[in-house]
């Protein structure tokens, strides 16, 4: 059951009406036989900012790779009412902005500009608008002057922000981030938190950073061993020390 929160509701998101994401009884096993998801059900409403926490190997990253059809498990999954089929994939990929945990997995072009422009260009956005979107995305992550820089020479924090910019330029309906604050120094982490706070987009963020969760996300989902073990109000779940300990988490 989705839980209503006082979130940023004054924004109208494109192409999303009603639930942004609906997942019911999703199962997935990797080709080597390792079972990663054992019946995951969750739904996310427009404007919600949801944290996904749980120990390493709980299935968080696997779950996220399902959201734009990179992995295909068994079960029902719809994004804004569209099921994940070959026909829907292009639209779904425009709607779900997936940012990988390791920015080196995300960035594949020589310059920052090329990387951010890839998504919009592939979608057939006209050139003028592409330029506009790239500079908007760079401004949103506070890296205005980095367009001509080479991606692989940036620092970790910069790479993470550029990785987010590459999907912001596609104007996604939901932003899916895999451990965005991992490996950042305190200042880069603070910049990232402020950035996520300001972005008026529905978000699903997997993380081990429970302090960030407390600060940013009204709703929290705990996953362990391929299943959702808790889904609810962040403050309530954080108060349940027994629950946190049972799933390898520590109260911040």
């Amino acid at each position: 059951m989705p839980i209503e929160h006082e979130t940023l509701t004054n924004f109208v998101l494109p192409e999303c009406d009603g639930d942004v994401l609906q997942m019911h009884d999703l199962h997935f096993a990797y080709p080597d036989g390792h079972v990663a998801l054992r019946g995951v059900s969750l739904s996310i409403c427009e404007g919600e900012k949801v944290a996904l926490v749980g120990p390493n190997g709980a299935g968080k990253s696997t779950l996220m790779l399902h959201l734009n059809g990179i992995l295909k498990g068994e079960g029902d999954l719809t994004i804004a009412g569209l099921s994940i089929t070959e026909d829907h994939l292009p639209v779904i990929r425009a709607m779900v902005g997936l940012v990988f945990q390791n920015p080196d997995d995300q960035l594949f072009s020589p310059t920052v500009f090329d990387d951010i422009a890839f998504g919009p260009l592939h979608m057939g956005v006209p050139e003028d608008e592409v330029r506009q979107r790239v500079s908007d995305a760079l401004a949103a992550v506070q890296m205005k002057d980095f367009g001509d820089r080479l991606s692989h020479h940036l620092s970790m924090g910069q790479k993470k922000r550029i990785a987010i910019a590459t999907v912001l330029a596609m104007r996604p309906g939901i932003l899916v981030l895999d451990e965005p604050s991992a490996g950042l120094d305190p200042r880069a982490r603070r910049l990232l938190i402020e950035l996520l706070r300001q972005l008026p987009i529905t978000m699903l963020v997997s993380t081990h950073d429970l302090r960030m969760v407390q600060e940013l996300f009204p709703r929290m989902i705990i996953m362990d061993e391929g299943q959702v073990v808790a889904d609810g109000d962040t403050d309530e779940l954080m108060a349940d020390i027994a629950l946190l300990t049972a799933h390898g988490l520590e109260q911040p």
Partner: protein
């Protein structure tokens, strides 16, 4: 994500898996040589080799048709032998006028072509079985025991190691592109051919840069742990009586095959 595409080793607790890698390497090389020495059209001998291969498949517990299923990957390379069909010896079967040249397939030529095909197909299956039942470090170790120069074995070992690094990088790059290859309803997606080619080109450049940097890091890590130029393995590599027995059995088998092939 990991690339399993080239990792052909399949673990089973079987007779073939437990055999000393040196015996397997020498046996397979001798059998492949024997295949090459069989005369054209010695169908009985070819059948015998295949029978032996099926028995070996069964002994490996990988399934009777395991090597057969994997062998088709290599078959296209055997088509290089297609010119053998037009051997000048033998009775002409037909005449194909292609304007510039006239091709005359002959009966001996066809027999030769099919024989080459069968030989390479059998040999490929033997190599597949060898790689599937022997772990790569053991294989390299066996080559070292057999006095293959260290430069060669080290090069092969590194080639094998970095093949995975390279394919991993390829998969990650492709996945990253895939994740953002979106489209909008009613708009042409994918951009122009020229743009797509440019993106692919820069991805190839990125691939080189990254795998170069990554292999450098891996090499440093190897040096940091005392790597001196050869790969060690925990396998004791002691030839037991059973290993010697198998080696002798292989040579007897080869003798029989050659006799069947030549004494007709």
């Amino acid at each position: 994500m990991h690339a399993h595409a080239f990792d052909q080793y399949l673990y089973r607790d079987s007779f073939l898996h437990r055999l000393d890698p040196r015996v397997k390497v020498v046996g397979v090389l001798a059998l492949i040589l024997s295949n090459a020495l069989l005369p054209d059209g010695s169908w009985a001998a070819f059948a015998l080799v295949w029978l032996a291969l099926l028995v070996a498949n069964d002994l490996s517990r990988l399934g009777l048709w395991f090597t057969l299923r994997r062998s088709f990957v290599a078959l296209p390379f055997a088509l290089v032998a297609v010119s053998a069909i037009f051997s000048p010896n033998g009775t002409p079967l037909a005449e194909w006028d292609l304007g510039v040249v006239t091709l005359v397939p002959t009966n001996l030529g066809v027999i030769r072509f099919v024989s080459i095909l069968v030989r390479s197909w059998l040999s490929v299956q033997m190599a597949i079985l060898l790689v599937a039942t022997t772990q790569f470090p053991d294989l390299i170790h066996a080559f070292e025991h057999l006095r293959v120069p260290r430069v060669l074995t080290t090069t092969i070992a590194f080639l094998y190691r970095y093949m995975f690094v390279l394919t991993d990088e390829v998969f990650r790059l492709i996945r990253a592109r895939e994740a953002r290859s979106a489209g909008l309803p009613g708009k042409k997606r994918g951009g122009s051919v020229l743009w797509r080619a440019r993106v692919t080109g820069s991805m190839a450049g990125q691939l080189f840069l990254r795998s170069y940097e990554r292999s450098e890091r891996i090499y440093n890590a190897m040096i940091a742990r005392g790597y001196t130029g050869h790969i060690r393995t925990l396998n004791p590599h002691i030839l037991t009586n059973r290993d010697w027995l198998v080696l002798w059995a292989v040579f007897v088998l080869i003798l029989v095959i050659q006799m069947v092939g030549w004494l007709r």
